[in-house]
Amino acid sequence: MTIIIILVLGILMLSSAILALQLKDLVAAIISAGVISLLASVLFLILAAPDVAMTEAAIGSGLTTVVFLFTINRIRKLKGDDDG
């Protein structure tokens, strides 16, 4: 049973990784990369490491994504200034 869950999660993870690299839209790519961490944190739970799972979920998928988005936001504002 766990094997199947792991397989499903893993394949989802890999496909979102590929998606994160292939997507043209940066925001979508970043979200997709965040999903990887989220899925990974589920795998951590399966590996009986709740501490790590919590951290990965909070930092890997949460904060890292926010940091990415904030940066993109800054860059876009800069771009907007240049255009204007």
């Binding site: 504002k77 800069l78 200034d81």
Partner: protein, 226 residues
């Protein structure tokens, strides 16, 4: 295209190189002696129910101090790199929705309390300073996104960040005088196993770590946002 094929070959060669790491893989039925030591002696030596916590805070406490430091350096580094006023206009694009604003005002205390719970119970339940810190930071993030007219009090943030870090080091230092070494948590009595105030200094260390990590993460976010 040629380049991609070339890169692909390189990765294949890498795969071949690390293949034994996978092929020689056996799930450990026997875990290493060192791990056994932690599992067997850890609860009694340090009095923490969460053994990951006892490894993080005490046995490998220097790593954790280093880790907090890395985050601190990153905060300082980001502040340093972004020290010059950038050309960005700081006016918000649009007002946050009413729901988000009231919702976050309502949620904030709960999130904070939860964060504090996590890092004070790090020796008993999963989680600890880092997780608690991140939760607190996410609370403040919510605040930032909601654009509530609550001027973030940077001074408080600053004091919390500086002092929590400082006290963490002080507790570590006290370990030298009151216990067997730097970052030894046994400078306080271990107390009753499984209680909130037990496991020596671990709850205190983790509280400071939590505050420190939380304020550092908030620092990173605000610096990026500004």
């Amino acid at each position: 295209m040629v380049r991609k094929i070339f890169l692909f070959i390189i990765l294949i060669l890498f795969l071949y190189m690390i293949f034994p790491l996978i092929s020689e893989f056996k799930i450990l039925s026997q875990i290493p002696d060192l791990a056994k030591y932690y599992l067997e002696k850890g609860p009694d030596e340090l009095g923490s129910a969460n053994l990951v916590t006892s490894v993080i805070v005490s046995y490998r406490g220097l790593d954790t101090l280093g880790e907090v430091t890395v985050l601190f350096i990153a905060t300082a580094g980001i502040g340093f790199l972004l020290r010059k006023k950038s050309r960005i206009s700081l006016t918000p694009n649009r007002k946050a929705s009413e729901i988000l604003r009231t919702g976050s005002a309502f949620l904030l205390p709960i999130i904070f309390l939860y964060g504090i719970f996590i890092f004070t119970h790090g020796h008993l339940t999963p989680g600890g300073g880092f997780q608690g810190g991140v939760i607190i930071a996410s609370g403040i993030l919510l605040l930032m996104l909601a654009e509530i007219s609550w001027k973030m009090n940077y001074l408080i943030l600053h004091w919390v960040e500086s002092l929590s870090g400082f006290f963490y080091v002080i507790i570590g230092l006290l370990g030298i005088f009151l216990a067997a070494g730097f970052l030894d948590n046994r400078l306080l009595p271990l107390g009753d196993f499984g209680r909130l105030f037990s496991a020596g200094a671990i709850p205190f260390i983790y509280s400071f770590v939590g505050l420190k990590v939380g304020s550092e993460l908030v620092g990173i976010l605000t610096k990026l946002q500004r």
